[in-house]
Symmetry: C2
């Protein structure tokens, strides 16, 4: 049986409608370590143990956990994400930043100049992670193909509507296009709690 | 000297522009107690001691503090707001709710039916505050005069844009008109952290 023209049009319109929605992922606080800091905490040449792949290709959750230490408090059992990076980066929420007693700037991942300093502890060792700590700026991961499909380019700013019990529109959401990406809107736990985030929530680019 | 027509028009336009902006206040976790619960915790007929007036007329911060106890953790030194109410009401953020290990519903103040239960502790006494605990739904306090000025009525839903380092638009913001109000947008600390709230921030009704 062949679809009627009306049915085909309806299917195409539904596809267009669906395509506007992008999965939202809420990032918990976590640490990316440099090999130098891995060596200091766990011993020279230590390799972090992968226990679970994350949504972004190549990224994974490690078995090892850390404590992060600020002037006002300590957050225990914080996740380490692999693989190791050139510089150690600690990503916390604004709530965490206030609890720790620091003033972590709102930044895109990788932009660490003059960011906050925390101490990191594990295995009875403590290291200073200077200029390591940020509140991650919300962003959307996509591939160049996704970019073409949405008509968006790298670093473009969009608005994202979240339909939920606590609906809102995030403005100033930055597009990050890389070859190895999986389409996802990344927000932190403050943003997740403020927008009534639940597992499987979708955001609409408007 | 008399203003020129141009100057008058400019002044009027500026007033209209300013009038769209309403101060934002971020509410920290707090407890309103019933007299029965005040009696149980502090002794029969005890009167809470006012230490500071709050922005809403008649409401005040008390000297006494409480611990609130959930199945997963305890939040210490929580503020009590006076005067006493008919029922005890605990207002926490979603972050607090997760930390405490409860699932407090998103509600307007006063709407406590089937809300969460926590234990409250002070002075070596512990009481059960049944159906007491909510995450407060964001809202705007205004007087009937403000309502006329903004063309808004009680319970109307509006959207509020926050200009900040983390700009967003809160949707589903409810208008609460009472005779004794001071114009203010009330959000909780998750929402404050998600929208880059700083002291003195203003929201724009759109």
């Amino acid at each position: 049986m062949v679809d009627t023209l009306e049915l085909i049009v309806e299917k195409v319109l539904r596809k267009i409608e669906e395509a506007k929605y992008i999965p939202i992922e809420a990032s918990a606080r976590h640490v990316h370590l440099s090999q130098e800091h891995v060596d200091s905490l766990f011993g020279k040449g230590y390799e972090l143990e992968k226990i679970r792949e994350l949504s972004q290709p190549g990224e994974y959750l490690c078995k090892e956990r850390l404590d992060i230490i600020g002037p006002k408090s300590v957050l225990r059992n914080v996740a380490i994400l692999g693989p190791v990076r050139g510089s150690t980066q600690v990503e916390i929420s604004r709530t965490d930043s206030i609890a720790l007693g620091v003033n972590a700037p709102l930044r895109l991942s990788g932009d660490l100049e003059d960011s906050e300093t925390l101490f990191i502890s594990c295995c009875r060792k403590v290291i200073e992670a200077g200029s390591s700590t940020i509140v991650a700026k919300r962003h959307i991961h996509m591939t160049p193909e996704d970019g073409i499909r949405y008509g968006l380019s790298d670093k473009q700013i969009v608005r994202v509507r979240v339909h939920s019990v606590r609906p809102l529109v995030f403005e100033d959401v930055i597009i990050r296009i890389t070859e190895k990406s999986r389409l996802a809107i990344h927000i932190d736990h403050d943003e997740a709690n403020a927008c009534g985030f639940v597992e499987g929530a979708m955001g609409e680019i408007i």
